[in-house]
Amino acid sequence: MKKRYSREKQETRMGLFFLLPSLIVIVLITFLPIGQTFFRSLFRWDIKFESRQYFTGLSNYTAIFQGLFSPDEALSWTVSFWNSAWVTFLFTIIAVLIETVVGLLIALIINREFRGRGLVRTATLIPWAIPTVASAQMWRMMFSSQGGVINDLAKRLGFITEYVNFLGDSTTTAFWSMVTADAWKTIPFMALLLLAGLQTIPLQLYEAARVDGASKWRQFFSITLPMLKPSLLVALIFRTLDTFKAFDIAQVLTGGGPASGTELLSLFNYKLMIQQGQHGRGSAVAIMLFIFTMLIAFFFIKVLGADPYASKGKELK
């Protein structure tokens, strides 16, 4: 017993030695800056006007919460913050929901036998692999009212009578365009993760169900979904967090417009901090964004029981 303990101690020491370089890098470029960002959020610091910083305590945060309950003209940035938070939450929930449902559908289809299946499976990786900047530019061209194929198609099919500037005319069309462009890029990723989950379900379960006379629907709800739950939750937690901090898609597709209707939190934060030079307020917003992501992760892991450790590393093909 004692010997084992000392061996563990020895391996712990050696392990820390191996971990050291990575831990140093992570502390230096992640933890330290996060701490500094929090510190900076306690100041008013408008870099465009003066280099002096004024310590204001938690007032950036109280301003944010005041902005939620009593929108004040003088604190218009907090109103924009809550607008962005609302847009981001809505975008995250809708986009991830669509991606999951369609992704699951595609996974179920690819899981069946057909000619060229390997090719289709490979092809699903392509939208995932290309830069979001490129895919967003692609969708910007397709949504355009000048030379855009979606307008052309919608008019030919009789959905619209006049060409519509989807990305610029109304917040609703811009928002849904952003959802579409994001879904196109991430559905394949979802489908692949779920396909991997589907392939771990033992076929005997379905055979047994068939013998018992269970319908296809019944099999789906009683076997497929429960067995898929761990992979589904892991895919969901990563997709939700990624969608929540999305920046590229809004920046390129709409620039946050029209009327800030597609201004995701990361983009709002970028504009406030980098373009307007408000490092104090911007830092407070960044910390809020950080807290939101931690809450989402907490919700998935503690409430829904997602286990990011569990489904890892079972297949090495």
Binding site: S22, A129, A134, G147, Y163, A286
Partner: protein
């Protein structure tokens, strides 16, 4: 048995819909890249390129410096990946093979780091990089890219390393090999697919990144490809044929990579906490 063709037909149709949904945007991008100024904004648009303007592809290299952007992107993504795999593999080795205290805590922290929103580190890093005078150098992107690539690499590698039987490394240690030699002589060769996977996924992540690339690089000669591509947007008169041509050029290598390496990519996606 007679009705079996109906589900077959439905399946074929479904597959066709998936293929069109995934590939039509690429087709459109390609068509746009061959259009001339006058055809770009025409309504209804041409669905085929009537007078393909291949010189658009020349313009993006001669007038728009895409070659330089590609080179910047490549150096930055490659260096990020190399550093991540080098120091990440030590960490992964310790986490996968050593009996250690606090192991699950460390793993949890590493996973949590990979979930942080990038913008939360931007402001302090910018100040520090300015002090160090590395804004507008490759380091200004390689260092922040490690925030996401290092946790991702460690996560993928430790899941691959775990699958190598302990007996093999222990035998090496009994034979007198130090842990460093065990790592290089036993683990690395056996986990080569895992290292390759981590390499590809980290590379793609760094190649596609935009937020840091918009902040830490302000000199257009040092722009990475995604940053260069945004330059065209947000303006009223976009040169769409050039954006399209540039998008095709930067997308093609990724498509080839995916087609050749899909086996490893899928293994990595299902092994690690991987983000897009």
């Amino acid at each position: 048995m007679r009705k079996r063709w109906i589900p077959r037909l439905l399946l074929t149709l479904a597959v066709l819909v998936i293929i069109v949904f995934m590939f039509f945007p690429f087709y459109w991008l390609f068509i746009m890249s061959l259009k001339g100024d006058l055809d770009l904004y025409k309504m209804p648009p041409d669905w085929i390129a009537k007078n393909p303007r291949w010189d658009n592809y020349k313009t993006i290299f001669t007038d728009h410096n895409l070659g330089q952007n590609l080179q910047n992107s490549f150096i930055i993504a490659f260096s990020t990946t190399l550093i991540s795999v080098l120091i990440g593999s030590w960490a992964a080795y310790a986490l996968a093979k050593f009996r250690m205290r606090f192991k699950s805590l460390i793993l949890g922290v590493i996973l949590a780091v990979s979930m942080f929103p990038g913008i939360v580190v931007v402001s302090p890093l910018y100040m520090q990089f300015s002090d160090l005078k590395i804004i507008n150098t490759y380091w200004a992107l390689i260092l922040p890219y490690l925030t996401f690539s290092l946790p991702m690499t460690i996560w993928i590698l430790q899941s691959f390393f775990k699958q190598i039987p302990d007996a093999l490394t222990e035998a090496a240690v009994i034979d007198g090999a130090g842990p460093m030699r065990a790592l290089f002589q036993i683990i690395f060769p056996l986990a080569a697919p895992g290292i390759f996977t981590a390499f590809i996924l980290t590379f793609i992540g760094a190649w596609n990144e935009l937020l840091f690339a918009s902040i830490f690089i302000t000199d257009y000669r040092k722009f990475t490809v995604p940053r260069a591509l945004t330059l065209f947007s947000g303006q009223y008169t976009s040169s769409w044929q050039l954006i399209a041509a540039a998008s095709v050029v930067i997308t093609l290598p990724l498509i080839v990579m995916v087609l050749l390496l899909q086996k490893w990519i899928v293994a990595g996606l299902t092994a690690g906490g991987v983000k897009d």
